[in-house]
């Protein structure tokens, strides 16, 4: 090394050059985000128009009410899943948590009819939060990749459910009327369960946008290393996201029991796919850092609507799984293509600015 090892730094005389005008990348990026939610709305409108044209019964109040009810549970799960996915993780175990919580709640109600419903619901939420804490500790503290941890607990929680149920089924007749009424009750013409989902949506949506911990979840998913450097308690936040997802899955379990009345150990098996499909279709990036609960819930509504439309159009219900899969693939491919376009546009733009 000689004393002149300096790199080719330009002399300071050039520093007088005016700073370049700020690039307009932000508009492009946010436009893309909006395109996604708008796209779902357009898809919904098209779906309703076409299906309604074939069978006007699809647009009847009863049918719409049914769609709302069907999407409520997945919507609640999708909200919880969004919290986790934003942090660049995933929770595959939600369906098993729903099953566990639904069975637990139903069992308590059937065996001890005296226990007030709100207490049972709180118990379900708590049970879910506990399961979420297990996932959270595995991922956040023990650094097990979320996919592996929750794939494991997906089966582990279900196994607990089976062991607990031991083949037993709780029927609607075993449960108190008051609890079952919650599943079919309406307030101002809207199903109670849908209102619960809406309340959860607004609360979580507000918190994610306006509370520091909410923004920190986005920060963690956007750049985990920078999040550590920014002094964010990453582990604590990741655990919290999993606990919240678990708690919402617990709530969804109570909703399931109230809506369907008949509960055994198989409840909600495979639902995790609907949830992930809803979240991904709703524009929550699987790489973390971006997406909203509103998009995820729109995704849930779209999926429920497709499912109902299939029934109306007399397409085999078995096609639903394939459609979910196709939607997931389409959504991630679409996201990827858009992201590549944006990156290319930014690259050209910066080049133009520099030239």
């Amino acid at each position: 090394m000689s004393g002149r090892e300096t790199g080719l730094a330009a002399p300071a005389a050039e520093s007088a050059a005016a700073p370049a005008p700020p690039p307009r990348g932000d508009r492009l990026v946010s436009r893309v985000a909006r395109v996604r939610e708008l796209g779902i709305v357009v898809a919904l409108v098209l779906l309703f128009a076409v299906t309604g044209a074939v069978n006007p019964g699809f647009l009847s109040p009863d049918s719409l009410r049914d769609i709302l009810l069907n999407s409520s549970i997945v919507a609640v799960l999708a909200i919880g899943q969004t919290l986790v996915v934003i942090t660049r993780n995933v929770d595959l175990s939600v369906s098993s948590v729903v099953g566990l919580s639904a069975f637990g709640g139903a069992l308590v109600l059937a065996d001890h009819p005296g226990v007030p419903a709100p207490l049972v619901i709180a118990g379900c939420v708590l049970l879910g939060a506990l399961c979420g804490a297990v996932n959270g500790l595995l991922v956040g503290v023990a650094a097990v990749p979320a996919l592996v941890a929750t794939l494991g607990t997906l089966y582990a929680f279900r196994g607990v459910d089976y062991a607990w149920a031991g083949g037993r089924q709780v029927n609607a007749a075993d449960m108190p009327e008051g609890f079952l009424a919650l599943g079919s009750a309406s307030v101002l013409g809207l199903p109670l369960l849908a209102l619960v989902a809406l309340a959860v949506l607004l609360a979580v949506g507000w918190a994610l946008r306006n509370l520091p911990p909410g923004r920190e979840l986005y920060a963690i998913g956007s750049n985990p290393e920078a999040a550590v450097l920014a002094g964010i308690r990453v582990r604590r936040r990741v655990v919290a996201a999993f606990v919240a997802s678990g708690a919402l899955a617990g709530l969804a379990g109570a909703m399931w029991a109230a809506r369907f009345g008949t509960v055994d150990a198989t409840v909600a098996t495979g639902k995790e796919l609907d949830v992930i499909a809803a979240v991904v279709v709703g524009g929550v990036a699987i790489f973390g850092g971006s997406g909203t609960v509103y998009g995820a819930v729109l995704g849930a509504v779209l999926l429920a609507s497709i499912s109902s439309a299939l029934a109306v159009l007399r397409v085999d219900a078995l096609a639903q799984t394939a459609i979910n899969g196709a939607l997931i693939i389409t959504a991630i491919v679409l996201d990827r293509v858009l992201a590549l376009r944006v990156a290319a546009a930014l690259r050209r733009r910066r080049y133009r600015d520099a030239a």
């Binding site: 090394m1 000689s2 004393g3 002149r4 090892e5 300096t6 790199g7 080719l8 730094a9 330009a10 002399p11 300071a12 050039e14 520093s15 050059a17 700073p19 370049a20 005008p21 700020p22 690039p23 990348g25 932000d26 990026v29 946010s30 306006n210 509370l211 520091p212 923004r215 920190e216 986005y218 920060a219 998913g221 956007s222 750049n223 290393e225 920078a226 999040a227 550590v228 450097l229 920014a230 002094g231 964010i232 308690r233 990036a285 850092g289 971006s290 290319a344 930014l346 690259r347 050209r348 910066r350 080049y351 520099a354 030239a355």
Partner: protein, 503 residues
């Protein structure tokens, strides 16, 4: 220590040591940072600078020794503690959240609050705008960090530090990826901060910058404290002596060669938004340097020539035959070799053993039938390890345990074992010790003398001027000058690199 101000240092390390397993990264190092003073941290790669920065930023905890804050012992349990103490760190690679807005990036972790604990967005936005106005830069606070240039990202980092009322600003090689203008702008901002009473710790390889910006310098070598000096009392050569522990010497044993046939011809190569219309030739036996500012597109040209990236237009010929684009394997078959810029990320696979790294670029050569012969693999590695005087314990050790210079030798061995006709080396001596540096230069020179066409990308002018038969200069994605050895001077190359060239 000379010329000690009367007030205690804002932040100081006192006989701090830190080891990772058996590796001693820092040994009893002391450092004092005073308000209103810029302090340089000098040392070669691996001297312990990054470890020291990580201790100050709360990422590592020292095994022994004390951190003193305003003269009082302090303990940093994590980055949050250091930040609360007023320490802000700007890393070489900015650490922003690409999905969040510039404003959110600045205030992440301590957003201004309104009622119900919610974030006061308008207030945050106003404060961000005010910070940028104070820095004299035009950045939209609502813009997402994704798509910002590295220089703009660093300004966001500085705004972040300002918003924290940082009393200590640590900058870890902040200029490595900046162009000249951007460096000047950065220095203006840092100077203003210093004048306001901020203590600045400046880590850089570029001596010129240290002498321009700093008042004091602490030098580390092999994890140990060497000296603390006032910049005014020393010359750049003094500093180099402290860093390397011996006299700086002429390091470039260039052998004269007679250029032969054109070995590599690049014709109108273009990659949109990166470089445009680049044409040049390298002859057998020639060492051609590709110079230019960081970000001028030199490495990108090398990547496209070798087929790592797909060019949008143009072609590459090796030995007169056109190369299939975007295929490193085709380039290799034609006799091309590329020693990439980033050794750890692109040149080597850190987890793999030395022998497997060397064999990776020549798997067919170590095959016996359909299977790999471990003996042949080892022989190939051993042969080149000896020729390049590689210091290693066992060839089966992961390459990650070697020093930077020895890692670079492994990369060279991997490619030289293929006996290439054209060798592209990108920053071949970056971050390696002086002795190895001379060996690498001698090796390149000998290769050229043996008929290999060498294309060398380098940011070190002395290296460029000492080694090259010809100097190609790039400026903002275009090739702007082709200077023969006789006419290549620091001035002529710099003029072309900064776009003021006669060419």
């Amino acid at each position: 220590m000379p010329d000690r101000p009367p007030v205690p240092p804002v932040l100081a390390l006192h006989r701090v040591s830190k080891s990772f397993g058996a590796v001693r990264a820092l040994h009893e190092v002391s450092l004092e940072l005073f308000a209103g003073e810029a302090h340089a941290l000098a040392g070669e790669n691996g001297a312990g600078k990054s470890t020291l920065v990580k201790i100050l930023s709360g990422l590592h905890r020292p095994d022994a020794g004390r951190i003193l804050l305003d003269g009082e012992p302090a303990e940093f349990h994590g980055p949050a503690d250091a930040q609360r103490a007023g320490v802000a760190v700007i890393y070489q690679e900015p650490t922003l959240f690409p999905d969040l807005s510039v404003t959110e990036n600045i205030f992440m972790g301590r957003q201004p609050r309104a009622r119900f604990g919610r974030i006061d967005r308008p207030a945050a936005r106003r404060r961000a705008a005010a910070l940028f106005a104070g820095l004299g830069v035009q950045l939209d606070p609502d813009q997402p960090a994704r798509g910002l240039s590295i220089a703009d990202q660093q300004l966001v980092e500085i705004a972040k530090a300002l918003s924290r009322d940082a009393r200590v600003l640590i900058m870890d090689e902040p200029t490595a990826a900046l162009s000249g203008n951007e460096v000047a702008r950065l220095f203006g901002v840092v100077e203003a901060l210093r004048a306001r009473g901020c203590a600045v710790l400046f880590v850089s390889h570029r001596l010129e910058e240290i002498f321009e910006l700093c008042r004091r310098v602490t030098t580390l070598r092999d994890g140990a404290f060497v000296s603390g000096d006032l910049i005014a009392d020393m010359t750049p050569d003094d500093l180099v002596r402290r860093m390397v522990g011996r006299e700086p010497e002429a390091l470039f044993p260039k052998l004269d060669t007679v250029p032969g046939q054109v070995a590599l011809a690049v014709r109108r190569l273009t990659r949109e938004g990166v470089f445009t219309d680049v044409s040049f030739e390298v002859r057998a036996g020639e060492v051609v340097a590709l110079a230019g500012l960081v970000g001028a597109g030199r490495s990108e040209v090398a990547r496209a020539v070798f087929g790592v990236d797909r060019p949008d237009a143009g072609r590459v010929e090796v030995g007169g035959r056109r190369l299939r684009p975007a295929s490193p394997s085709a380039a290799m078959a034609a006799g091309l070799a590329l020693v990439p810029e980033d050794r750890r990320q692109q040149g080597l696979i850190m987890d793999l053993s030395i022998e497997r790294n060397i064999a990776l670029a020549g798997l067919p050569a170590v095959r016996r039938g359909p299977l790999i012969s471990r003996a042949a693999e080892r022989a190939r590695a051993h042969d080149w390890a000896v020729r390049l005087r590689l210091k290693f314990a066992r060839l089966a050790d992961p390459v990650g345990v070697l020093s930077g210079g020895n890692q670079q030798k492994v990369v060279l061995a991997k490619w030289l074992a293929r006996k290439p006709s054209v060798l592209i080396v990108d920053e071949p001596t970056r971050g390696i010790d002086v002795g190895t540096k001379a060996e690498v230069h001698r090796l390149l020179s000998e290769l050229a003398a043996g008929g290999v066409a060498v294309l060398m990308i380098s940011s070190e002018l002395p290296e460029v001027l000492g080694m090259a038969d010809r100097v190609l200069v790039m400026h903002e994605g275009r090739l702007v000058a082709d200077i023969p050895r006789a006419e290549a001077t620091e001035e002529s190359v710099m003029a072309a690199a900064t776009g003021r060239g006669a060419a």
